[in-house]
Symmetry: C2
Subunit: 321 residues, 2 copies
């Protein structure tokens, strides 16, 4: 996956995606001591950046493939996105989700007309379930991150960030995007490092699921300990992606790790100062800035607020903190 793929994806999906705004709050700038530009991907179709990758993939299906449908396994946002794109283009979607995924995400996928199959996160192998369905029905598997079309689609957010920052004369010193499988940050880094090589691109991860931070340090794919918990339901993988890690290793300056409390504070700050509903995983880059995980004093920093699909009970806890 190279920058040309991101450019092609950008042209392909543009009529179907929201060009989400790059928002700024003076108060937030003062709190952080930097100019912070927030790419509001929570305002994307289906409430998360994942719509971009799924859209780029589904637009390249043949007519026969469109009829057979698609199957996706996902902890939530990729499920919502694939079902929403499927609905938009009339492609039947089967989604395999963990039984403990947020209700908002499970109900959302069903509302989009998808067939939802729930599995046990600890016991079942979601990839095996997906492969089995694909074999039986001829459906095409739409992976959540380890796929060049998916990475290229997510990278279109990076093209927009650079264009939008240029439009307001704000050369970017730093860009931060959350990482789970690493598709978003791989795509964004590919775009940003091509268009603005001097910009440093960082991933953000929740404590306990900091496999990318450790992998970038060791140079090898590191795994997370099983049984770990985090409020960031959308950022939980065991190890870096096979296709995403080499890209992230090449482009990223590092990965910033934040605690659940730091994430809740960032969700509250996004509520107060940006008027946005941001889910835990989507708030990680803002949490990293507010908690001072990187010295950005006087710099211009773009952060991706990658999604806004969060159960009310979790959001309320963050507001009370």
């Amino acid at each position: 996956m190279a920058f040309g793929d991101v450019q092609q994806a950008h042209a392909r999906i543009r009529p179907y995606v929201v060009r989400t705004p790059l928002l700024e709050s003076r108060t937030l700038n003062d709190l952080i001591g930097a100019r912070v530009l927030a790419k509001a991907e929570c305002l994307q179709n289906a409430g998360a950046f994942k719509f971009r990758g799924a859209c780029n993939r589904l637009l390249q299906l043949t007519d026969a493939q469109r009829k057979a449908g698609v199957v996706a396994f996902s902890s939530g946002n990729h499920a919502l996105a694939t079902s929403a794109v499927g609905r938009m283009f009339g492609v039947p979607a089967t989604i395999i989700m963990p039984a403990d995924a947020p209700k908002a995400k499970i109900e959302g996928a069903r509302a989009n007309g998808a067939t939802v199959i729930l599995y046990d996160r600890e016991k079942d192998d979601r990839e095996a379930i997906g492969a089995d369905i694909a074999r039986k029905t001829g459906a095409i598997i739409v992976p959540p991150y380890d796929d060049p079309h998916i990475m290229a689609g997510q990278g279109t957010a990076g093209i927009e960030i650079v264009e939008q920052a240029q439009a307001i004369d704000a050369p970017l010193d730093v860009v931060i995007a959350a990482s789970s499988g690493g598709g978003l940050v791989a795509g964004v880094a590919t775009a940003v490092k091509h268009l603005s090589p001097r910009t440093a691109v960082y991933a953000g991860e929740p404590a306990g699921f900091d496999e990318l931070a450790r992998s970038l340090v060791s140079g090898q794919p590191e795994t997370n300990a099983p049984g770990t918990r985090s409020i960031c339901d959308s950022l939980q993988v065991a190890k870096p992606g096979k296709l995403t890690f080499p890209i992230n290793k090449r482009y990223l300056a590092g990965s910033l790790v934040v605690t659940d409390d730091e994430v809740r504070q960032a969700m509250k700050a996004a509520y107060q100062h940006l008027k946005l509903v941001v889910e835990p995983g989507g708030a990680v880059p803002l949490a990293a800035l507010l908690a001072g995980k990187l010295d950005v004093s006087g710099k211009t920093v773009a952060i991706v607020l990658s999604g806004g699909n969060v159960d009310a009970s979790v959001f309320i806890e963050a507001l009370k903190g």
Copy 2:
């Protein structure tokens, strides 16, 4: 105040305001049975459309006036906006606010560097307090709505709505904006009826503060009973504005009245489907649609979500509902 004033305001304030997105949710469309385009003015600077009018007014001060500063009386958003614009242009601002205004708004005005004077909503006369300060300091009074520059500034949201709807090939059947003093809906109606005469423009009001609805029916300015309460802190006036009412009488098709419960449900719907933090008053047009106050079946409707400055306790109550 005519359409030409709105056009001039649009050119004048464009570099300083956020061109807020016109957002759409498939799920919300399905719930309402119409195509609903939400103008997210909660993402405006200072968290509300009021920034537009204050910006248009302060940009027309002379150098001497800028030094003497401005004084504004406001239940909240106009305070936040005037203080934010004052800060942006280096104009000292004194803000007269009711003591029971939301903390988020009082603290926000102070964070913007304004001098905040609190008054008793039942006993004191905020206009007299403002006039007194203006007389003593030479400060210019920036009224919340009864001012042609303020109305013209708010009307720029209407120009953007029509432009943004045209850009996605969505001719507008209906536009709805909340009304308190009526400056927003007067400005928006002036713009929309000029650019798209076939579009019906409605106000939205909370029950108990439905003076405009009754005034439009009777043809005379009607007043609200004193002592009434509403969750919509930003939509509480005693009677229609002197300058705004003739404009609203000319252009509006009516005013839709909603209850506090309907407002809370709309705040929750904006959270779920649009990922936006909308304050009670800002959610009134969405509440009117969700509660079926107008038959919009199969139509295309733009609503102004006019602000997002809401205390966490009020937002939490809405999410729990």
